[in-house]
């Protein structure tokens, strides 16, 4: 189960503005989905190691050598507001 206040808190964390109707619907839907997910609670998982990745690779390194990359112009080409050679954004506010 998830409460309306938790939905609002999580939406804030996720930088999502939800309408009142969306909050209402999401509260019900997430509760149903979490109810299904909580079936995992039936399993005995004591002492089981977590798996984050199935490929046994770690620290894949390459030589630290400069190589060509996108130009500044190319990188900014799809920006909604390129400004002063960078990505323009409004003030974070007070």
């Amino acid at each position: 189960m998830i409460e309306r206040t938790e939905v609002l808190h999580v939406a804030r964390l996720a930088r999502l503005r939800l309408s009142d109707a969306e909050v209402e619907r999401m509260t019900g839907e997430l509760s149903t989905i979490l109810g299904h997910i909580e079936r995992m609670d039936e399993l005995d998982l004591d002492g089981v190691e977590p798996t984050s990745h199935v490929v046994a690779l770690e620290n894949v390194l390459r030589a630290d050598v400069p190589r060509p990359s996108l130009t500044r112009e190319r990188s900014l080409a799809a920006a909604p507001d390129p400004a002063a050679g960078g990505f323009g954004v409004p003030s974070p506010g007070a």
């Binding site: 996720a14 999502l16 299904h36 039936e42 798996t51 984050s52 799809a78 909604p80 954004v89 974070p92």
Partner: protein
């Protein structure tokens, strides 16, 4: 014209190599069909045939449909989302680059569930896709456009991506072959990320031989994807006629309740065929796989919530809002994302949030370990694990859109293999009420050659006829 359409991709490669068919002629045939698409399968179609095609190249100029989450330089790439509606990437995905180098030029970009989240293609911001076997039904998802395009003969072959069934389930629902490779076999560079520990791209094709050829030219380590691996052996063209000595395990946990009667009938018929071909079929208990869906719907949304944080209206894509920076983020994401994407971001953020992390994310990672162990034990005694691909045939458009959990259950049989990172293929097993039923065969990591070979033998015995969908 229709003779060209009847050629499988491998047959077309041979015909072009022999000089019987010209690559531009084939491209133009498919270009015209794709441009006339009435299924909603394509979001973008190439204007012209590529300037030069080498008839001796391994793929000989046979055109390829590409799911719209593969970045292609200067070509619209939306991932099915409003938030990327006008986006044209500055670089090309490795898989697309490799196939193009091998001689498969891009025919077009195919429709998909937004950010690959969905099982029906109804979550696309650019409209649904219709199943060529029955126009009032879904093609499956999330690679629904790629599947519908190949099934309808709008493209000879296609690539899609599979995070928890997104190649296999649409292949099943459209009567195609779909291969989800071993995790790491194909570079993910340039694929717009959904859940990075699960995402893999692979072929959707008319037959197993086509899938093997396309796969052969996709694999390999890529410096741009540090999780990619060198494929340990050459990918061969499948040729097996028999299944002698091969053991197929049927997990009762995945093949019990919930299967439609028609799906069950085709599945049982397929098991009988395996035995006729000399294979052995037996039950194998995989007790944790039934919890796969629960773990998946924690892990995939958790990874997605992090991956989709980049869509914030700053560097590319849609920007909305005219207040401060926070309202720019919130407004852009409110306007740019569809319902399912918001739902998954919420679910993932919740599962990762302070106080819930251990109960959801931590627990799901431990279930994942258990599922990996289930498969490891199964492959000690069996060569393959076999199930239906989807519990149902293609369902009607609109039938499940109001019930997200019912939609998620479409992936019940496909998700465990994704969590284990192992290869799994869906091949058409037959029809139920005139609609295709897919059979899923899974093997250990990097067993694609054996998987393709066994599927080839089975495919010959089944002799599925997909021509009705191309009419």
């Amino acid at each position: 014209m229709s003779e060209l359409l009847d050629l499988s991709a491998v047959q077309a490669v041979a015909a072009i190599g022999a000089g019987d068919v010209s690559a531009p002629e084939l491209f133009d045939l498919y270009r015209a069909r794709a441009a006339d698409d009435e299924l909603g399968a394509f979001l973008w179609v190439a204007e012209d045939a590529p300037p030069r095609a080498d008839p001796q190249a391994p793929l000989a100029g046979v055109p390829l449909a590409v799911k719209d989450l593969f970045c292609v330089e200067d070509v619209p790439t939306t991932s099915g989302s409003r938030i990327l509606e006008d986006y044209r990437p500055p670089y090309t995905a490795t898989a697309v680059e490799r196939l193009s180098t091998a001689g498969a030029p891009m025919l077009g970009k195919t429709n998909m569930d937004e950010f690959a989240m969905g099982s029906s293609n109804e979550n696309s911001a650019f409209g649904p896709v219709r199943n060529p076997w029955a126009l009032d039904r879904v093609p499956g998802g999330s690679s629904g456009g790629s599947a519908a395009a190949v099934a309808a003969g709008l493209a000879p072959w296609a690539i899609g991506t599979d995070t928890g069934g997104s190649i296999r389930q649409p292949a099943a629902l459209c009567g195609l072959v779909g291969l989800k490779p071993t995790y790491g076999a194909v570079s993910r560079y340039g694929m717009i990320a959904f859940a990075s520990s699960l995402d893999q791209c692979g072929p959707l094709t008319r037959d197993v031989t086509d899938a093997a050829l396309l796969f052969r030219h996709m694999v390999g380590q890529d410096p741009c994807d540090s999780t990619s691996l060198e494929y340990p052996e050459p990918v061969a063209s499948p040729s097996a006629e028999r299944l002698d000595g091969l053991r197929f395990g049927v997990p009762p946990e995945l093949t019990g309740e919930g299967l439609e009667a028609g799906v069950r009938a085709v599945f049982e018929q397929t098991l009988a065929r395996i035995e006729e071909l000399g294979g052995a079929v037996d039950e194998v208990s995989m007790p944790n796989t039934a919890s796969g869906l629960s773990a998946y719907y924690v892990l995939a949304p958790a990874e997605a919530s992090a991956n989709l944080a980049r869509f914030d209206g700053v560097r590319y894509g849609l920007r909305a809002g005219n207040g401060d920076l926070l309202s720019l983020y919130e407004e852009t994401r409110a306007v740019g994302f569809g319902d399912e994407v918001k739902r998954r971001i919420m679910l993932g953020t919740y599962a990762l949030s302070s106080g819930y992390y251990d109960a959801y994310y931590g627990r799901a990672q431990r279930v994942r370990t258990r599922i990996v162990e289930d498969f490891r034990a199964a492959f000690d005694a069996f060569d393959f694990v076999i199930t239906p691909t989807s519990p149902t045939v293609a369902f009607k458009l609109g039938e499940r859109t109001a019930d997200p959990l019912a939609m998620y259950l479409s992936d019940f049989l496909a998700v465990p293999m994704s969590l284990a990172g192992i290869p799994a293929i869906s091949i058409p097993g037959g029809l139920a009420d005139g609609l295709p039923v897919g059979i899923q065969v899974a093997g250990p990591a990097f067993s694609e050659n054996r998987l393709l070979d066994a599927s080839f033998a089975l495919e010959r015995a089944i002799a599925f006829d997909g021509t009705a969908a191309r009419a």
